[in-house]
Subunit: 325 residues, 2 copies
Amino acid sequence: MAAQAGVSMGTVSHYLNHPSRVSAEKAGRIQAAIDNLGFVRNNAGRQLRLGRSTTMAYIVPDVSNPFFATIAEGVEQRASEAGLSVFLANSGGKRAREDSYLELFQEHGVLGILVASPEPIEDRLAAIKSRGTPSVLVGQLAASPAQPSVSIDDVSGGYLAARHLIEIGCRRLAFVGGPLSIRQVADRLQGASRAVREAGSATLEIIDVEPRVIAVGHKVGAEIAGRPEANRPDGVFTVNDMLGIGLVQTLVTSGVRVPEEIAVIGYDDIEYAENSLVPLSSIRPPHQEFGIAAVDLMLVMVEEKESDLHRVFAPELVVRRSAER
Amino acid sequence: MAAQAGVSMGTVSHYLNHPSRVSAEKAGRIQAAIDNLGFVRNNAGRQLRLGRSTTMAYIVPDVSNPFFATIAEGVEQRASEAGLSVFLANSGGKRAREDSYLELFQEHGVLGILVASPEPIEDRLAAIKSRGTPSVLVGQLAASPAQPSVSIDDVSGGYLAARHLIEIGCRRLAFVGGPLSIRQVADRLQGASRAVREAGSATLEIIDVEPRVIAVGHKVGAEIAGRPEANRPDGVFTVNDMLGIGLVQTLVTSGVRVPEEIAVIGYDDIEYAENSLVPLSSIRPPHQEFGIAAVDLMLVMVEEKESDLHRVFAPELVVRRSAER
């Protein structure tokens, strides 16, 4: 290749590893030779040469939840600043698929893995770390001090949501979402439950449903609208915005007034919340900052620096018409 | 490893390549030995052994558009049936990032690449093919007969949208979206333009904006609501649903009645369209079938079978309240 481009081997190597340090004219000749020879860089060799990988991975359970896309933007931004490319993978919330991606990313020698998972996963991540690949748990506080994680204080988020419903006069609250085996779901319910307990006079019904998607929100809305009025909740907290968007749509088209008869508040503050039939109140976690923090923690692990390995963000309440009285 | 697990080398190899054919008891012992020895499968070696890669890639320009997530589900489903894992990558619509992912996926030896791109890309895909990696262009009909593609008949989609607006009585139509350098945008406008031409008495204004996101829809809505009534369009076709959702929200909150004063129709029929402030009419492309077809075409390329390399899907009109009169 060096011969065909009419440059030294050193210049070719320089071009491959630091393209900006080679003159445009030489770079053009080398690239032409590369194209001409049909050369594809061998990644394994390149990693050995550079001493570390230029890729990282991010495994998510549900690529169709827009909250994931918002975090992914922060991940891409910080990764790009660090000279890294990001392989995304969608586990679909399935343990077997998640395992297969964890395995695959190790085989491909990624620098580190970010993973959001509805499954118990810390033991598996510890095993992966012992074989050389660090990871950051995304969206859930790690139980182990050695496992880095970025999470939201979901207990506080659930508390904010239910307390707001109580403050605007709701007394028969309902929590919509499941399964409770998912830490984030259980934490949000725990916070809501605390607010109800503090209020004294309020009650909390649990409507345990999954998956947490718009279509399920429609189903719950139809069920509630079908009850005798006295048996309906007057304030509903859905564990995410997709459930809330579906719920509001079906309640309103079934003739139930939102927020007058039933106030509704969601969680995640996705872009579609404020544009739904009745603009949805929500609990707003950090968006891009969350992905940025996850990449930073991963780099800390790679560089084996001293650091606090757990970042917990506080969410805030966003009140829109669905819960205004 | 075989020694530690107390099984033959052949059984270990069997377990690695066809885990389901090894007894649960032996599999447990081999996995324990693997964990114990900190063994990470070497992907390059494995590919040589199996003769082909077990991964494929899917590059998208905008991970935050829910239409992408819907296609990704079809891709995952068919890939999984074919025993493949899918690496997703978000190019952000940026040429440099797209090139870097194309390069990276070749280096990692993927079986094939699906790519949705707003940039001219067929020359680059041909070069990649000549080096051994086939690709399928997603969302756009390839100009080259040799380049496989799955696309929607966007001219027909644009025609359906504008003709519907004209049929319900709109005469001052507006098309919102850009840039026209993107094939899909230009095609949708071309179809709309044909419907307006056929109608004779109607006019078509172009409001050229990008990016095609909710926030830009809000901006266009404010601009239109700010005009004297006689200068407002009475029917708007937005080039995607995100623009349409933002537009409807701002028109309504500015006191413009939708659909009575301005009817609105979007494109893509994302889940959030029917749940927006005024349920949004839209043009529905195939959803999961689209991703399935893309993977199938990629496998046809890998197996070098004879096939028609271009699949063009017909979209359909979905009328909801935003364009009912």
